[in-house]
């Protein structure tokens, strides 16, 4: 290649610049700030969500999907925390298989019964959607369509 | 062989660009519909299916019509059709693509389209329609491509292709029968609730499909050195005529049952479509009568073999067949099922501008695919001949 050395060097520098610039571009200290979802007073008082917090953080989508399926299609509107969703149960079983029963990664909660509803139950504690749900969702760039139908709690902004 | 589609003269490229412009315009209107919702169409709570579904129905027929070339050749050894089976098969592909697109633009929630595969319901005819239409498209694609490649290389195609061909023949009948079943099993819509719906669909398919094919053959003859053949076109003309006569016969059977029995439910849709309901003149009536006029003209032009043999007259007759069947099936059929509504009221329907523009975009897509495929066919035929 004529002038091959120069071209390849230029290409490498150019591509490196193209792919690495986001790591150097800091939007007034805003870039790369991890989300900090806030709990309402009510949520803090409750202490625990319908499932252990590590599970909710990672799998609340699966829980909501299970809820919307079992509520609407099976008519099963109440959630027993001692039973959990099938997803939670299977994860627990896998965890038991790997780490041995008793070494649960996700700790069990006191048995409680909740009405399965994003709008009525979840948002009752997490009524600060813009400071809780949206914090992580906006950061991750996800736009769940739940809110097309399920009514968001009114917030005093 | 795909590279054959990007080698063409100015007229070819002009046509391609024109189609692409129409596709772009249709897509832009679709984005508008996607954002605002289907209320930009003329459909309503009472007439919940309209132009899109009518067009879907019509083009399933055109797709099935391709079998009228394939069947005589493969089952009855009518050697002349060997020249043009590929044209029927590729027309079927373009038509099914249009069908699929018409369904997609009609869906209220297109992102959930795959639910029909994730959560299938075997009692739903729509589920089976999706299967048979997609399989038919694949069949034609695989068959057509292999047969054409073999022809280009001057060899005989593989034996397994023959198996697929034999499957595609009854399958062609099945696609339009299943589509007819979408309508024929619905208890509340008396215009549709008839045992001969599938028979009517098939007869109009076997008239409109080959009619379109004839017109396309005449165009091919004009724009290339490949001649589909005088005998082929003549025989197709005969097929169109028989099928069209049968189609009209079936329609008259329906009219007889409705009006001799005097059952209100059976008569009302006919009354609405051809004149009006309870004093109110209908918007559809002029179009339905136009369909009748086209049908009479078509019969006049096509019935007598001596005149049908003359290609200009045949072409005019085919145009009339297409116009007549298109109005009847692509428009009247769907509307007649919904008007009068279950409360015996008339709520009028007419497609809106966005609805028509989106439909134009879909037609343009179909014709784009057809042009590309036919360009390949013609180039291969010319290459083999030269």
């Amino acid at each position: 290649m004529y002038d091959g050395g120069k071209i390849i060097t230029g290409l490498i520098i150019g591509l490196l610049a193209l792919f690495l610039w986001p790591f150097f571009y800091d939007r007034n200290g805003q870039a790369g700030v991890s989300p900090k979802p806030e709990l309402t007073a009510k949520a803090k008082e409750a202490g625990q969500c319908v499932a252990p917090t590590p599970y909710m953080r990672e799998y609340h989508m699966q829980l909501l999907d299970d809820w919307r399926h079992t509520v609407v299609r099976d008519g099963d509107r109440y959630y027993d925390t001692s039973e959990g969703t099938w997803h939670l149960r299977v994860l627990g079983d896998i965890n038991d298989a790997i780490a041995g029963a008793g070494e649960r990664h996700y700790k069990e909660t006191d048995r409680k019964i909740y009405y399965k509803s994003l709008q009525v139950t979840c948002m009752d504690c997490h009524s600060n959607k813009s400071k809780f749900c949206d914090e992580c969702h906006d950061y991750m760039g996800v736009d769940p369509y739940c809110w097309d139908c399920h009514i968001e709690p009114k917030e005093n902004k | 062989m795909l590279e054959k589609a990007i080698k063409g003269d100015q007229k070819y490229w002009g046509w391609i660009v024109f189609l692409l412009l129409l596709i772009g315009m249709g897509f832009a209107f679709y984005l508008y519909q996607f954002k605002v919702g289907l209320k930009v169409t003329g459909m309503s709570r009472d007439v919940s299916w309209g132009f899109y579904i009518g067009q879907l129905t019509y083009f399933v027929g055109v797709a099935a019509g391709g079998v009228m070339v394939v069947l005589p050749y493969y089952l009855h050894d009518y050697k002349a059709f060997g020249r043009i089976t590929i044209l029927g098969e590729f027309l079927a592909i373009a038509s099914i693509v249009m069908c699929g697109l018409f369904v997609m633009v009609d869906l209220g929630n297109l992102p959930r389209m795959l639910n029909i595969m994730i959560y299938p319901n075997p009692t739903s005819i729509l589920f089976w329609d999706m299967i048979v239409l997609n399989v038919y498209m694949l069949l034609n694609l695989v068959i057509g491509w292999n047969v054409l490649s073999a022809e280009r290389k001057g060899i005989q195609y593989q034996k397994w292709v023959k198996v697929l061909i034999y499957i595609s023949i009854p399958w062609a009948f099945s696609i339009h029968t299943v589509t007819a079943f979408l309508y024929a099993g619905i208890p509340g819509r008396h215009y549709w609730l008839t045992a001969i719906m599938a028979a009517r669909f098939l007869s109009s398919a076997f008239a409109s499909g080959p009619a379109l094919l004839i017109l396309l053959c005449l165009i091919i003859r004009k724009v290339s050195t490949f001649d589909p053949g005088k005998e082929q076109i003549r025989t197709l003309g005969g097929i169109v005529t028989y099928a069209f006569v049968l189609n009209i016969f079936f329609l008259l059977l329906e009219v007889f049952t409705a009006f001799y029995s005097q059952i209100p439910g059976h008569m009302h849709s006919f009354e609405y479509l051809f004149s009006g309901f309870e004093g109110q003149a209908s918007k559809q009536a002029p179009w339905m009568w136009a369909s009748v006029v086209f049908a009479i003209v078509a019969l006049f032009l096509l019935l007598v073999p001596a005149t049908r043999r003359r290609e200009p007259i045949l072409a005019a007759g085919c145009g009339a067949v297409i116009a007549s069947t298109w109005i009847d099936k692509g428009f009247g059929l769907v509307i007649g099922g919904f008007i009068p509504n279950p409360f015996e009221r008339v709520f009028e329907y007419w497609p809106t501008t966005p609805e028509i523009m989106i439909s134009v975009g879909v037609w343009a897509t179909g014709f784009f695919i057809l042009t590309v495929l036919y360009k390949i066919v013609v180039s291969v035929k010319e290459e083999v001949a030269g």
């Binding site: 079992t70 609407v72 019964i113 097309d148 009514i151 | 309503s44 639910n115 099993g185 619905i186």
Partner: protein
Amino acid sequence: MMGVDRREFLKIAGLSGLFGLGGKAAIELLAPGEVEAQLSSAPVMKGKRWAMVIDAHALDDELMDVCIRACHREHNVPDLDDPKVEIKWLWKEEYPHAFPGQKHEYIGDDIKHSEFLLLCNHCTNPPCCRVCPTKATWQREDGIVMMDQHRCIGCRFCMAACPFGVRSFNWGDPRKAPEEKNPDFPTNVKYPTRSKGVVEKCTFCAERLAKGQLPACVEAANQIKENALTFGDLDDPASIVRELLRKHYTIRRKPELGTEPNVFYIV
């Protein structure tokens, strides 16, 4: 640990791969299908074939308006004020149009203009459920023809199949309903709205039955006239609907079609 042998490596890699996949993809392999949570600590109305009996003699404009308002407000049904795109779960219809098979020339004006309350009949043999390609509408074990708006693709085949015209489609976004007609929309913040592109209809207030409450329309009607609308289980010979059906002559809409509607009108 010195080298891991190949079998052990594959075991660990496989399991961690599954775990790492997370979510449904991995779990489906191990637990296909759903497991139902059994719970009966909450009050629930249980039945095998829910039905409604409407006493046409008890219906008047005020009562019907109250019922419709209760239903539509409970379920955030918008008032779109346009017959082209309107959404109605419960509505009034004149006799000759509610029962077109029954009308004749000599009906008295009173009867001709009398109005009936119309809603989904929750048929025992529903054609709408047969045709739905995704089972977004289906018949529950208790007879209710239910809607799953999470699954509906908006094909509107159910609307074509319903012989009674009880289904409505969201041609646009219901939240964009005209404000003058819907000043306090959504009227029930405990119930979702729908989005554009899905079909909706009366669901016999399945969510209220699950709490041991009667359907909203029945409850509202009872405030004005006891038993104008009654709701009960046809499978229970002692239910009020069975009692009324034994005592009174009732008609249903288009019974000749064999869909077996479960809304009866005492005439």
